[in-house]
Subunit: 437 residues, 2 copies
């Protein structure tokens, strides 16, 4: 029985996760659409033996959202390009079930899995911006519950399409001229509420059996959905207690759904600021916080809180009591409100805190201190690994790989080398059997 070790995802979000990352003097803001930048990041991450790269996504822009969400490279094209210049690291991309067709998604992830020889993962999202609807001939965003209903059916169809071909279906016997066994080829013939899809997929069985499935919704619907289908869960948790509670809930829900809880990995986001001294790390943090443009921080906070209008308030006022409901990301909204109440933050303090790590676990300290904190969460039942959200690139990642990873390796908490070749190998997830029930 091998020792349990941490898993790491690397969150590629433009030039950094911090909202002011693009203003940092070590950063060139145009890197956000520069493939050579992402290639460099991927190479460093692979040197560090990280499990996977992760690309978020959205299908619309907000005039005042995170700069990394204004213009950006599209996940399938970015990850496929990275597949060609890396060898081991996993490649996780976000795709919405609300504004896509299951055939396209099944096929692109299967193709990415073939190109990367088994390193693809799909982060399943249901989309939260109302604005996305307007780019897809819809007059309104699909209601929260219906989005999840559609997502469940969508994932069923995608799973079915990935099983279109048995492992031995394509025999390609050059002498007899038989290309495939028709009886090992399975149309899907799905007729559901949201989709009718005949299949089969025009892509053979993915090298991983199926790409790894990731989910990040922390609402009730989101957790139930994750418990049924996800193999990795990304989550924003700012305190150990909350993280432990979330961890317990998801593992229990998964067991209740008849799944092995070890096959659903919980990976909270973490924003590490690493310095040679704690003071240096703290200065790094403060430097970025001071670069936040007030209008941007405020608009950002407003957006996360469902469009609340702060014009009648001073930045030194506390957060108003009546925060409007939103059809967007429910769990994030609640996280922010809880944070403001708990620490009695002013509006200015709140937007600085939110814009900094946006509800994620923040660690500020030396490599030892960062390693200690990760170890603590990992051993205290709060995490199976972490989604690393460096404030700005490549420096944060470079420090982590050079200084934190070796400490974790010495403690036996992280691999010294990739044990296998696929993302399922790295994450210790089972390969689905080649038979559809």
């Amino acid at each position: 029985m091998s020792v349990r070790q941490m898993k790491f995802g690397l969150f590629l979000m433009g030039v950094g996760h911090h909202i002011a990352a693009w203003r940092h003097p070590d950063v060139r803001p145009e890197w956000c659409e520069d493939f050579t930048f992402f290639r460099r990041i991927a190479e460093i991450a692979e040197q560090g033996k990280l499990d996977m790269l992760f690309v978020s996504d959205g299908l619309a822009i907000e005039p005042l959202s995170h700069p990394a969400e204004i213009v950006r490279l599209e996940p399938f094209t970015l990850l496929a390009a990275l597949a060609a210049v890396t060898n081991r690291i996993g490649l996780a991309g976000t795709a919405s079930t609300t504004y896509n067709e299951p055939f396209h998604i099944a096929r692109k992830f299967s193709s990415l899995d073939h190109i990367s020889r088994g390193r693809a993962a799909w982060n399943i999202v249901t989309s939260y911006y109302e604005e996305e609807a307007y780019n897809f001939s819809q007059t309104a965003h699909l209601e929260h519950r219906l989005r999840y209903e559609r997502a469940r059916e969508f994932v069923d169809v995608v799973n079915g399409l990935w099983e279109s071909w048995d492992e031995e279906a394509l025999i390609r016997d050059q002498s007899s001229g038989i290309y495939f066994h028709a009886e090992k080829w399975r149309p899907l013939n799905h007729h559901g509420t949201h989709f009718s899809v005949r299949g089969p997929l025009n892509s053979s069985r993915p090298p991983q059996g199926k790409p790894v499935l990731i989910q990040a919704g922390s609402s009730q619907d989101g957790i139930r959905f994750a418990a049924h289908v996800a193999e990795v869960v990304f989550t924003a948790q700012s305190t150990l207690t909350d993280a432990q509670r979330f961890y317990q809930t998801v593992k229990q829900e998964a067991a209740r759904a008849g799944r092995n809880p070890d096959h659903i990995l919980i990976m909270p986001g973490v924003a590490p600021y690493i310095g040679r001294t704690e003071q240096e790390a703290r200065e790094q943090y403060e430097q970025l916080q001071e670069l936040i443009v007030p209008e941007v921080g405020l608009a950002f906070l407003s957006d996360y809180l469902g469009g609340i209008d702060f014009s009648g308030y001073s930045l030194d006022d506390p957060l108003p009591d009546d925060i409007p409901e939103t059809n967007g990301n429910q769990s994030r909204r609640q996280l922010i409100i809880d944070l403001a109440r708990r620490e009695r933050l002013t509006i200015r303090q709140l937007y600085q805190r939110i814009a900094g790590a946006r509800g994620h676990f923040t660690i500020i300290g030396t490599p030892e201190q960062v390693a200690d904190q990760l170890e603590y969460w990992f051993l205290q039942g709060a995490a199976d690994g972490f989604n690393l959200m460096f404030p700005y690139y490549p420096n944060g990642l470079q420090s982590f790989v050079e200084h934190v990873i070796p400490i974790l390796q010495k403690r036996g908490l992280f691999r010294r080398n990739y044990e296998g070749t696929t993302l399922r190998d790295h994450l210790g997830l089972p390969v689905p059997k080649s038979i559809r029930v």
Copy 2:
């Protein structure tokens, strides 16, 4: 004024364009989903200074179609991966306007154009297989005329989305904290018959202004569409006279649509068999023809002719008179019927001819003979260049690059080096201005 030179596209169709390519002893049939194979092909093509790689596509499989159309890599992922390992060659991918959303298509091609630094092209198709409908929750394929109507609107929307951002819109001024000029950002606010798309695109202006637009329909609707929007036209022409007529028609239609006819390049497909002697080339051809499995050739022919049932006929009978109408590819159907009548072919001879080059211009000979034929079509007003469809890979391509390209270079008919860095540079196509009317 520079001398007019040929343009070359390289048609990547599995392990070769010939239907029996996968049975050739020099070929490994599983290469069709092996990225390292395509990488090798791309590298040879770039050594040959070819203009672009071209990937066809479809969104369903037929049990008895071309093996390269059963399982295959998806174009966006394949081309993005190739972008990362090549430097100059153009990357053209097929995407259907019938089973896609314009926002996704605009974005993925823009992203591919960014990743490749200006080498993306979109081959616009309207889809012809009835089966594609069943994978996208439709009960029937959209009728031919409506497909083109939708395609026109689709391309308008995509063009509009590519113009979402002025060249100087994203200033990203680190000192002031201003990321972009809101007045140089343009929502689209399109409300049409088939689509409502607000925009803007979450991708900045593509390096080429817009990716190159390619079209291949040779029906009346197809030609009219091409004349309005296409910058490159792929076409299947088996005789010089037909090719000249087609060339004239498209150029005239383009002029009538107010366009400069030099900005729409006609590139017929060509299947070259190259040998040290004509005899050797002929043997190469015969070897492949003999590898065609009769059932496959027949089913293939039937499919191209709209599902005609050959069970009542002998393979030595002539083609029956009453070929059913089809909602599929009209021009290809007519090409095949004309060929059978003109050369009085039996059913067997016809499927062998069709399966071999499928209505495309075939050249069998020495490097000199191949160069002569290409030059003749090029100078006789039948082509601005060619879409190279090698019967099997990599041998055909390797011979062409080593032996035919140098002859064309010596004659001044083809570049010795890439003059620029983008596909528009290679093709001599103008970069659209950064202003929307």
